[in-house]
């Protein structure tokens, strides 16, 4: 078990009311599973389920990617800089 910190930005921060969350992340948890855990804990995220993206250690992640221990995890909507 790994207590992980998840960073949230833009709409996801508004929907959860937090800039960052702590969650228990069992060993072997994939990005897809963590996404489900996050939506379960914060049902308002359901409406951005298909658009939200995940970065692990500051790199765009795949759904099937296993979260490494002590990873920096971030969830956010498609970017809109410029």
């Amino acid at each position: 078990m790994n207590r992980g910190r998840i960073l949230l930005f833009a709409t996801l921060r508004d929907y959860t009311g937090s800039r960052s969350l702590e969650m228990e992340i069992p060993a072997g948890t994939t990005v897809a599973v963590l996404t489900e855990m996050l939506i379960k804990a914060h049902p308002r995220l359901e409406k951005v389920r298909t658009s939200m993206m995940t970065a692990i250690n500051r790199e765009y992640a795949r759904d099937e990617q296993v979260i490494p221990e002590n990873a920096e995890i971030a969830f956010f909507p498609p970017v809109s800089g410029g």
């Binding site: 765009y60 800089g81 410029g82």
Partner: protein, 152 residues
């Protein structure tokens, strides 16, 4: 060939002159600079007014992705010498410079126009920055459409 790179994610006003100076080398004969501005009136589609935009960034990743864009530009346009990428964050009123992408080269026909264009397009695709737009009807997040591939 000198190849200066300057990246900035800043709360402060961006100076195009300063960025040009930073990427001008003894061999520079051309600089192409794109700047984004907070648009006060949008006439594309339904006309609407914008009083300001609030920008936020996932700073450490944004800095990594700005570096990556420089690598991608240099892989594609070997004649590009210097590259500057600056993005301002915080509350920016209509008419304010939000971003600057500038590329320098010896000559204008070296791909330097395309390189700057590529730079701003990639910034809007992969650099984790978001903006919330405030107008007469309230505030709402502007959402992009691009979904980067894993590792992109």
């Amino acid at each position: 060939m000198d190849s200066p790179t300057y990246l900035a994610l800043t709360q402060d006003a961006i100076s195009p002159d300063d960025l040009i100076a930073r990427i001008t080398t003894p061999g520079t004969g051309a600089v192409v600079l794109f700047t984004g501005i907070v648009r006060g009136i949008t006439t594309h589609g339904e006309t609407r007014q914008t009083s300001h935009l609030d920008y936020e960034a996932y700073s450490p990743m944004a800095e990594e992705k700005m570096k990556q864009i420089c690598v991608e530009i240099r892989e594609r346009w070997s004649a590009v010498e210097g590259i500057a990428i600056a993005q301002r964050i915080g509350q920016l009123d209509a008419g304010t410079i939000t971003t600057v992408i500038a590329c320098s080269a010896g000559h204008r026909d070296s791909g330097v126009f395309e390189a700057a264009r590529y730079g701003i397009d990639r910034l809007k695709e992969i650099v984790p920055i978001w903006k919330k737009e405030t107008g007469p009807d309230g505030a709402s997040w502007v959402e992009g459409h691009y979904h980067p591939a894993a590792g992109e």
